[in-house]
Symmetry: C2
Subunit: 162 residues, 2 copies
Protein backbone atom coordinates (compact mmCIF):
# COMPACT_ATOMS: atom_id res chain seq x y z
CA UNK A 1 0.00 0.00 0.00
CA UNK A 2 2.66 2.49 -1.09
CA UNK A 3 1.48 6.04 -0.68
CA UNK A 4 -1.19 5.45 1.95
CA UNK A 5 -0.74 8.01 4.74
CA UNK A 6 0.39 6.69 8.11
CA UNK A 7 -2.47 6.51 10.64
CA UNK A 8 -2.03 9.19 13.36
CA UNK A 9 -2.28 6.55 16.13
CA UNK A 10 1.05 5.07 14.99
CA UNK A 11 2.79 8.35 14.09
CA UNK A 12 5.10 7.96 17.11
CA UNK A 13 6.34 4.66 15.60
CA UNK A 14 7.08 6.11 12.13
CA UNK A 15 10.85 5.75 12.38
CA UNK A 16 10.46 1.94 12.65
CA UNK A 17 8.97 1.68 9.14
CA UNK A 18 11.09 -0.20 6.64
CA UNK A 19 13.42 -3.17 6.68
CA UNK A 20 16.28 -3.68 9.13
CA UNK A 21 19.10 -6.21 8.85
CA UNK A 22 21.92 -7.19 11.18
CA UNK A 23 23.15 -9.71 13.68
CA UNK A 24 22.37 -10.80 17.19
CA UNK A 25 23.61 -13.02 20.01
CA UNK A 26 21.51 -15.44 22.04
CA UNK A 27 22.32 -16.69 25.53
CA UNK A 28 20.18 -18.80 27.87
CA UNK A 29 20.98 -21.32 30.61
CA UNK A 30 19.34 -24.20 28.74
CA UNK A 31 21.15 -23.82 25.39
CA UNK A 32 24.62 -23.13 24.02
CA UNK A 33 25.17 -19.48 23.10
CA UNK A 34 24.65 -18.79 19.41
CA UNK A 35 24.80 -16.01 16.84
CA UNK A 36 22.18 -15.21 14.26
CA UNK A 37 21.44 -12.95 11.29
CA UNK A 38 18.11 -11.16 11.30
CA UNK A 39 15.73 -9.33 9.00
CA UNK A 40 12.98 -7.27 10.62
CA UNK A 41 10.33 -5.38 8.66
CA UNK A 42 7.68 -2.89 9.81
CA UNK A 43 4.99 -1.89 7.32
CA UNK A 44 1.49 -0.42 7.35
CA UNK A 45 -1.68 -0.17 5.27
CA UNK A 46 -3.02 3.09 6.73
CA UNK A 47 -4.58 1.49 9.80
CA UNK A 48 -3.58 2.09 13.45
CA UNK A 49 -1.06 -0.76 13.47
CA UNK A 50 2.34 -1.56 12.07
CA UNK A 51 2.75 -5.09 10.73
CA UNK A 52 5.80 -6.72 12.39
CA UNK A 53 7.63 -9.49 10.50
CA UNK A 54 10.91 -10.92 11.68
CA UNK A 55 13.04 -13.88 10.68
CA UNK A 56 16.49 -15.08 11.64
CA UNK A 57 18.97 -17.54 10.21
CA UNK A 58 21.71 -19.24 12.20
CA UNK A 59 25.37 -18.58 11.45
CA UNK A 60 25.36 -21.79 9.33
CA UNK A 61 22.53 -20.42 7.16
CA UNK A 62 19.63 -22.53 8.46
CA UNK A 63 16.37 -20.65 9.14
CA UNK A 64 15.85 -20.29 12.89
CA UNK A 65 13.31 -18.11 14.70
CA UNK A 66 10.56 -16.01 13.18
CA UNK A 67 7.71 -13.95 14.50
CA UNK A 68 4.83 -12.11 12.87
CA UNK A 69 2.17 -9.79 14.22
CA UNK A 70 1.15 -6.22 14.82
CA UNK A 71 2.25 -3.25 16.92
CA UNK A 72 -0.82 -1.18 17.76
CA UNK A 73 -1.15 2.51 18.55
CA UNK A 74 -3.98 3.68 20.83
CA UNK A 75 -5.99 6.79 20.00
CA UNK A 76 -6.94 7.54 23.60
CA UNK A 77 -3.60 6.65 25.19
CA UNK A 78 -0.77 8.39 23.30
CA UNK A 79 2.63 6.96 24.20
CA UNK A 80 1.18 3.53 24.93
CA UNK A 81 1.33 0.62 22.49
CA UNK A 82 0.12 -2.97 22.29
CA UNK A 83 1.82 -5.88 20.55
CA UNK A 84 0.42 -9.20 19.31
CA UNK A 85 2.74 -11.85 17.85
CA UNK A 86 2.64 -15.46 16.68
CA UNK A 87 5.78 -17.62 16.68
CA UNK A 88 6.29 -20.78 14.56
CA UNK A 89 7.35 -22.63 17.74
CA UNK A 90 3.66 -22.62 18.70
CA UNK A 91 3.54 -19.52 20.88
CA UNK A 92 1.30 -16.48 20.85
CA UNK A 93 2.32 -13.33 22.71
CA UNK A 94 0.36 -10.24 23.75
CA UNK A 95 2.18 -7.28 25.30
CA UNK A 96 1.71 -3.69 26.39
CA UNK A 97 4.30 -0.96 26.52
CA UNK A 98 5.39 2.61 26.09
CA UNK A 99 7.02 4.44 23.20
CA UNK A 100 9.20 7.46 23.88
CA UNK A 101 9.94 9.61 20.84
CA UNK A 102 13.54 10.82 20.86
CA UNK A 103 15.34 13.48 18.77
CA UNK A 104 16.71 10.95 16.27
CA UNK A 105 14.53 7.91 16.92
CA UNK A 106 12.58 6.24 19.70
CA UNK A 107 12.73 3.95 22.71
CA UNK A 108 10.12 1.23 23.05
CA UNK A 109 9.60 -1.02 26.09
CA UNK A 110 7.15 -3.92 25.87
CA UNK A 111 6.19 -6.46 28.54
CA UNK A 112 4.04 -9.50 27.82
CA UNK A 113 0.58 -9.71 29.37
CA UNK A 114 0.04 -13.24 28.03
CA UNK A 115 2.23 -15.87 26.42
CA UNK A 116 0.26 -18.97 25.49
CA UNK A 117 1.56 -22.14 23.89
CA UNK A 118 -0.07 -24.85 21.82
CA UNK A 119 -0.04 -28.32 23.44
CA UNK A 120 3.24 -29.23 21.69
CA UNK A 121 5.06 -25.92 22.42
CA UNK A 122 7.77 -25.32 25.01
CA UNK A 123 6.68 -23.28 28.00
CA UNK A 124 7.39 -19.53 27.89
CA UNK A 125 6.03 -17.52 30.82
CA UNK A 126 7.12 -13.95 30.03
CA UNK A 127 8.80 -11.90 27.31
CA UNK A 128 10.18 -8.37 27.69
CA UNK A 129 11.43 -6.34 24.72
CA UNK A 130 13.43 -3.09 24.66
CA UNK A 131 13.90 -1.53 21.22
CA UNK A 132 15.76 1.68 20.45
CA UNK A 133 16.13 3.42 17.12
CA UNK A 134 18.87 6.01 16.69
CA UNK A 135 19.04 7.21 13.10
CA UNK A 136 19.56 4.17 10.91
CA UNK A 137 20.44 1.81 13.77
CA UNK A 138 17.90 -0.34 15.61
CA UNK A 139 19.03 -2.18 18.72
CA UNK A 140 16.95 -4.53 20.81
CA UNK A 141 17.23 -6.64 23.89
CA UNK A 142 14.84 -9.43 24.78
CA UNK A 143 14.46 -11.12 28.17
CA UNK A 144 12.25 -14.10 28.91
CA UNK A 145 11.24 -16.68 31.48
CA UNK A 146 11.05 -20.06 29.71
CA UNK A 147 11.44 -23.80 30.29
CA UNK A 148 11.62 -23.45 34.07
CA UNK A 149 14.17 -20.57 34.11
CA UNK A 150 13.72 -17.19 35.82
CA UNK A 151 13.03 -14.11 33.67
CA UNK A 152 16.44 -13.10 32.27
CA UNK A 153 18.34 -11.70 29.31
CA UNK A 154 18.14 -13.86 26.18
CA UNK A 155 18.80 -11.82 22.99
CA UNK A 156 20.67 -8.69 21.94
CA UNK A 157 20.92 -7.50 18.35
CA UNK A 158 21.97 -4.50 16.28
CA UNK A 159 20.27 -3.98 12.95
CA UNK A 160 20.78 -1.35 10.24
CA UNK A 161 18.23 0.19 7.94
CA UNK A 162 18.27 -1.70 4.63
CA UNK B 1 13.14 -20.11 0.07
CA UNK B 2 12.27 -21.47 -3.37
CA UNK B 3 13.42 -25.04 -3.81
CA UNK B 4 13.65 -25.99 -0.14
CA UNK B 5 11.94 -29.38 0.32
CA UNK B 6 8.73 -29.40 2.31
CA UNK B 7 9.21 -30.74 5.86
CA UNK B 8 7.59 -34.21 6.23
CA UNK B 9 5.55 -33.03 9.27
CA UNK B 10 3.56 -30.69 6.99
CA UNK B 11 3.36 -32.99 3.95
CA UNK B 12 -0.38 -33.51 4.58
CA UNK B 13 -0.86 -29.73 4.17
CA UNK B 14 1.04 -29.47 0.86
CA UNK B 15 -2.01 -28.64 -1.27
CA UNK B 16 -2.50 -25.41 0.74
CA UNK B 17 0.83 -23.96 -0.46
CA UNK B 18 0.53 -20.90 -2.67
CA UNK B 19 -1.72 -17.88 -2.92
CA UNK B 20 -5.53 -17.98 -2.97
CA UNK B 21 -7.86 -15.14 -3.92
CA UNK B 22 -11.63 -14.78 -3.79
CA UNK B 23 -14.57 -13.34 -1.94
CA UNK B 24 -16.43 -13.95 1.29
CA UNK B 25 -19.51 -12.93 3.21
CA UNK B 26 -19.63 -11.93 6.88
CA UNK B 27 -22.67 -12.11 9.14
CA UNK B 28 -22.92 -11.54 12.88
CA UNK B 29 -25.69 -10.29 15.17
CA UNK B 30 -23.72 -7.20 16.22
CA UNK B 31 -22.88 -5.85 12.73
CA UNK B 32 -24.47 -5.35 9.33
CA UNK B 33 -23.71 -8.16 6.88
CA UNK B 34 -20.84 -7.32 4.54
CA UNK B 35 -18.86 -8.75 1.66
CA UNK B 36 -15.09 -8.81 1.31
CA UNK B 37 -12.28 -9.73 -1.05
CA UNK B 38 -9.49 -11.88 0.35
CA UNK B 39 -5.95 -12.95 -0.36
CA UNK B 40 -4.59 -15.91 1.60
CA UNK B 41 -1.03 -17.22 1.26
CA UNK B 42 0.61 -20.34 2.67
CA UNK B 43 4.40 -20.64 2.38
CA UNK B 44 7.24 -22.53 4.04
CA UNK B 45 10.99 -22.39 4.62
CA UNK B 46 11.58 -26.15 5.08
CA UNK B 47 10.53 -26.24 8.75
CA UNK B 48 7.53 -28.12 10.20
CA UNK B 49 5.16 -25.16 9.78
CA UNK B 50 3.38 -23.32 7.01
CA UNK B 51 3.38 -19.54 7.34
CA UNK B 52 -0.24 -18.27 7.14
CA UNK B 53 -0.85 -14.72 5.87
CA UNK B 54 -4.30 -13.40 5.13
CA UNK B 55 -5.74 -10.00 4.35
CA UNK B 56 -9.12 -8.77 3.25
CA UNK B 57 -10.47 -5.57 1.74
CA UNK B 58 -14.08 -4.43 1.98
CA UNK B 59 -16.23 -4.13 -1.13
CA UNK B 60 -15.37 -0.38 -1.15
CA UNK B 61 -11.63 -1.16 -1.30
CA UNK B 62 -10.65 -0.27 2.26
CA UNK B 63 -8.32 -2.75 4.01
CA UNK B 64 -10.29 -4.71 6.61
CA UNK B 65 -9.21 -7.81 8.50
CA UNK B 66 -5.82 -9.51 8.43
CA UNK B 67 -4.19 -12.37 10.25
CA UNK B 68 -0.69 -13.81 10.29
CA UNK B 69 0.80 -16.87 11.91
CA UNK B 70 1.77 -20.49 11.47
CA UNK B 71 0.07 -23.82 10.89
CA UNK B 72 2.16 -26.51 12.58
CA UNK B 73 2.51 -30.22 11.78
CA UNK B 74 3.36 -32.65 14.57
CA UNK B 75 5.91 -35.43 14.04
CA UNK B 76 4.41 -37.73 16.66
CA UNK B 77 0.74 -37.07 15.91
CA UNK B 78 0.11 -37.39 12.17
CA UNK B 79 -3.24 -35.93 11.16
CA UNK B 80 -3.18 -33.40 13.98
CA UNK B 81 -2.18 -29.75 13.49
CA UNK B 82 -1.73 -26.65 15.62
CA UNK B 83 -2.36 -23.04 14.60
CA UNK B 84 -1.05 -19.77 16.07
CA UNK B 85 -2.28 -16.43 14.74
CA UNK B 86 -2.04 -12.73 15.53
CA UNK B 87 -4.76 -10.28 14.42
CA UNK B 88 -4.28 -6.50 14.02
CA UNK B 89 -7.39 -5.98 16.16
CA UNK B 90 -5.26 -6.97 19.16
CA UNK B 91 -6.06 -10.68 19.35
CA UNK B 92 -3.88 -13.75 19.52
CA UNK B 93 -5.33 -17.17 18.77
CA UNK B 94 -4.03 -20.70 19.41
CA UNK B 95 -5.91 -23.69 18.03
CA UNK B 96 -5.67 -27.43 17.55
CA UNK B 97 -7.26 -29.51 14.85
CA UNK B 98 -7.22 -32.37 12.40
CA UNK B 99 -6.29 -32.56 8.74
CA UNK B 100 -7.86 -35.21 6.52
CA UNK B 101 -6.11 -35.74 3.21
CA UNK B 102 -8.62 -36.28 0.39
CA UNK B 103 -8.20 -37.52 -3.22
CA UNK B 104 -8.05 -33.98 -4.66
CA UNK B 105 -7.34 -31.84 -1.58
CA UNK B 106 -7.91 -31.83 2.16
CA UNK B 107 -10.33 -31.00 4.94
CA UNK B 108 -9.05 -29.12 7.97
CA UNK B 109 -10.96 -28.45 11.19
CA UNK B 110 -9.45 -26.14 13.83
CA UNK B 111 -10.86 -25.14 17.22
CA UNK B 112 -9.29 -22.44 19.38
CA UNK B 113 -7.70 -23.46 22.67
CA UNK B 114 -7.02 -19.83 23.62
CA UNK B 115 -8.06 -16.45 22.25
CA UNK B 116 -6.47 -13.60 24.21
CA UNK B 117 -6.93 -9.88 23.66
CA UNK B 118 -4.81 -6.88 24.49
CA UNK B 119 -6.43 -4.42 26.94
CA UNK B 120 -7.92 -2.36 24.07
CA UNK B 121 -9.23 -5.33 22.02
CA UNK B 122 -12.83 -6.50 21.71
CA UNK B 123 -13.60 -9.75 23.50
CA UNK B 124 -13.46 -12.94 21.43
CA UNK B 125 -13.97 -16.20 23.35
CA UNK B 126 -13.73 -18.89 20.66
CA UNK B 127 -12.90 -19.33 16.98
CA UNK B 128 -13.62 -22.43 14.89
CA UNK B 129 -12.33 -22.83 11.33
CA UNK B 130 -13.26 -25.39 8.67
CA UNK B 131 -11.16 -25.29 5.50
CA UNK B 132 -11.52 -27.55 2.49
CA UNK B 133 -9.37 -27.67 -0.62
CA UNK B 134 -10.73 -29.37 -3.74
CA UNK B 135 -8.38 -28.94 -6.66
CA UNK B 136 -7.85 -25.23 -7.15
CA UNK B 137 -10.73 -24.14 -4.90
CA UNK B 138 -10.35 -23.38 -1.18
CA UNK B 139 -13.52 -22.85 0.86
CA UNK B 140 -13.65 -21.94 4.53
CA UNK B 141 -16.19 -21.27 7.20
CA UNK B 142 -15.42 -19.52 10.45
CA UNK B 143 -17.58 -19.47 13.59
CA UNK B 144 -16.86 -17.46 16.71
CA UNK B 145 -18.19 -16.37 20.08
CA UNK B 146 -17.46 -12.64 20.47
CA UNK B 147 -18.72 -9.46 22.15
CA UNK B 148 -21.25 -11.33 24.31
CA UNK B 149 -22.70 -13.50 21.51
CA UNK B 150 -22.91 -17.30 21.51
CA UNK B 151 -20.54 -19.30 19.30
CA UNK B 152 -22.02 -19.09 15.78
CA UNK B 153 -21.32 -18.81 12.07
CA UNK B 154 -19.50 -15.60 11.05
CA UNK B 155 -17.62 -15.99 7.74
CA UNK B 156 -17.85 -18.08 4.55
CA UNK B 157 -15.53 -17.62 1.59
CA UNK B 158 -14.53 -19.30 -1.65
CA UNK B 159 -11.01 -18.66 -2.93
CA UNK B 160 -9.24 -19.81 -6.08
CA UNK B 161 -5.59 -20.66 -6.57
CA UNK B 162 -3.80 -17.59 -7.97
Amino acid sequence: MVGVPLHPDVEALACLLGTWRGTGQAVYPTTDDFGYTEELTYSHVGKPQLAWRQSTVLDDGRPAHAEVGYLRGLADRPGEVELVLAHPAGLIEAAVGEVEVQPDGLALHLRSTAVVGTPAAKEVLSVERRITVTGDVLRYQLAMAAVGQAHQHHLAAELHRA
